[in-house]
């Protein structure tokens, strides 16, 4: 039985290991069909590679020129050491897209945060610059009455006297607490 022609093609290229190599060789010696196929395949190989010598002659001259061009290019600024800031790093497209999106979101968040901080700073500034409208001793009823007379929103800055916060007096003592839980005997 004839071997598969794919296998014979691989055999021509020396790609079949022993002992199959010898088996195919023996078969081809005795089979007219397979030896004809081998002759055809070898002929294509011979014809294709017949111009290799001509190409090699051109290659010898090209080799010298390319070597000169490579030396020239390298000495005139093509990075061979791969400077960090000029090196390219391959990044998968999904990762690059996700990074771009994250940067955009972070940028918007930072911009919004900056705007809100600016509003707060302006409010504090306005409070400091407010004109005093009342003196000490003004009651809460007076403040409400003052607000109700205004036609638009107003900022009220109430400064409490220092003594209003109280002070620590007396000796420290420990307070014992008993925790009661229904159904517990403790």
């Amino acid at each position: 039985m004839c071997p598969d022609h794919e296998l014979v093609s691989a055999w021509i290229d020396g790609e079949v290991p022993s002992p199959w190599r010898e088996t195919i060789e023996r078969h081809i010696e005795t089979c007219a069909t397979c030896s004809g196929f081998v002759a055809t395949m070898r002929r294509t190989h011979v014809l294709l590679s017949s111009d290799v010598d001509g190409i090699d002659a051109s290659a010898d001259a090209a080799r010298v020129r390319v070597e000169e061009r490579l030396g020239f290019a390298v000495s005139h600024g093509i990075s061979t050491t791969g400077r960090f800031w000029t090196r390219r790093f391959p990044v998968p497209f999904p990762v690059a897209a996700a990074a771009a999106l994250a940067l955009a979101v972070l940028g918007f968040a930072l911009a919004d945060s900056g705007r809100r901080n600016a509003d707060l700073r302006m409010a504090v500034q306005r409070a400091y610059e407010a004109t005093p409208v009342a003196t000490s001793g003004m009651g809460i009823e007076s403040i409400i009455e003052y607000i109700s007379r205004q036609n638009s929103a107003v900022n009220i800055n109430i400064t409490l006297p220092a003594e209003a916060f109280g002070s620590v007096t007396g000796d420290p003592f420990i307070v014992r607490e008993a925790d009661y839980q229904a159904g517990s005997r403790q």
Partner: protein, 179 residues
Amino acid sequence: MFNNRSGADNAAFKALYDETFTMLFRVARRITNSDEAAEDVVHDSYIKVVERWGIFPTRDDAKYWLIRVVKNNALNWIKRKGREQKVYQRYFKEVDAVSESPEEETLKGEVTRDMRRYLDKLPEKFRMVLVLKEYGMLNYKEIGRVLGIAEGNVKVRVFRAREALAEMMREEGSDVSRP
């Protein structure tokens, strides 16, 4: 050659250059059919490998990456050339200026020229395995590594490519079985 590199890198690149240049030139020359284009393609490919020198774990990795780049650059050149030729032919009715002189063609023989023409007609996936086999002198395992396909797949493609060449020769009356 590498002014900014260490002596070891220089020596490694020179060794790679010496080992691969002729093979790369053959592959590029066979795909482009032009000495000048092949020289440019190979030169540009070496520049790319120089720029990425640090990323290759071994010299073999650099070598097979380089072969792949030469193959792709040569195919891109062909596609670009094809587009340019269409424009030229449309406006100036010029013929392909890449082919060799009539004298050279006569010397090389009609059958060989036909075979190269048939090779150019093959689908890219079949053409490339034969170019790498016959001009790059690579074995199946190396071809598989360059093209990113299994060794068994290379075996099938080589066989089918040769079979298709033989069939085209028979159809046009060129007997490939005669010595």
